[in-house]
Symmetry: C2
DNA sequence: GTAATTCCCAACGCTAGCGTTGGAAAGGAA
DNA sequence: TTCCTTTCCAACGCTAGCGTTGGGAATTAC
């Protein structure tokens, strides 16, 4: 049979995303990633260098995805509400990224990989909010960076403490998710209203 | 020397809070807890039954603390803003609880201990918001449970993804924390405004 | 005083996971 | 063909952590 280096690496990455998101850096074992990917453990070390490096790689890939898939484009309050809704949707549809970031926040905090790159990425979002504020469409009650972060909080907290969300707003269901999403959109818009 | 059962148990609990909050259920080892507490590992098993049970116990204790220390009392928008500020402060001053809850959300999610008790606890908070809504002091834009949760989101997201907070709003400092707190208070009040 | 109970620890067996290694199989270069 | 490189894996040594046990020391009950 022919080699399939590319395929092997991809299978490892796929398995790693799932495992890391599910169990976190500590709970994840290289053995299991290899088993799920259907390859030998040694391949992981050879291609990616080890657990830490693989985690960093996985997170970088997922961040690139979200940067591509959830652009910020609205410059007024309604646009920010819409953006919050899309962030909420993304968290729902791709829980991996949110989980990875929260594992990262808990396990590492200081000294995260690619910090400079990621800061720049957020810089664009803040600039968009700032532009909205200059045009008078968005409130000047908050500094742009703070408002940006608070909007992300509204969209993200649900998945950060799902057990609390369940206890406060009731069990998850299609209906409940619709309620939550509507609340997030409305809340972000209200926060951003001039 | 005389026995000090109570003291031994307390030392274990103290060490367990610190270790679990820092490293999470997976990263924490019973060995280490025992070492930090200065007692033998066997004591942990004898008194608390094991890692899982100890984690549940630690979380229950911390939840009892916050329920005692951060009452909700305001019935109007400003009161909710004030409450959000106090929640933010609590997260700052006692990062353990927030971290424990987030570890729990990541590691277990479904089937958390004491769910009924905790749901009841949140029920009081929701009732307070609801009362504010009935009196017309708090907006009816959101259902009470949703508004309650969103307010907690504003206060809690900072510590959930500290690395993101840092990248968006700049490095932590006394000044920056004051800015953040002010944003949280203002945002919660604005959300709740009629 | 002594028997029973409780508290405590050192040490054990066991498993799981880490990262590595020696070598086999597949492909390419000459 | 022959030699070299790359991909892959089975198996290894090692460590850390889990939960337990057997026994010793302090305390209490009788």
């Amino acid at each position: 049979m022919a080699w399939d280096t590319e395929g092997t690496q991809q299978k490892i990455l796929d398995a790693a995303v799932a495992e890391f998101a599910q169990r976190g850096p500590d709970g994840t074992t290289v053995e299991r990633i290899a088993r799920v990917a259907g390859v030998n453990k040694e391949r992981v070390y050879n291609y990616f260098g080890g657990k830490q490096e693989l985690f960093a790689r996985v997170l970088r890939d997922e961040l690139a995805r979200v940067a591509r898939d959830v652009p910020i484009d609205g410059l007024d309050a309604a646009g920010l509400g819409d953006y919050a809704g899309r962030v909420y949707d993304y968290h729902r549809e791709h829980p991996e990224l949110s989980r990875l970031m929260r594992w990262e926040g808990l396990a590492f905090d200081s000294e995260v990989p690619d910090e400079e790159l990621r800061r720049e990425h957020y810089g664009y979002k803040i600039a968009a909010v700032d532009a909205g504020q200059r045009s008078g469409e968005v409130t000047a009650d908050f500094e742009a960076d703070q408002l940006m972060f608070l909007v992300l909080a509204l969209a993200g907290w649900w998945s950060a403490v799902p057990q609390v969300a369940r206890m406060i707003t009731g069990p998850e269901s299609a209906d409940e998710h619709a309620r939550r999403r509507a609340s997030v959109v409305r809340a972000a818009a209200k926060l951003a209203a001039a």
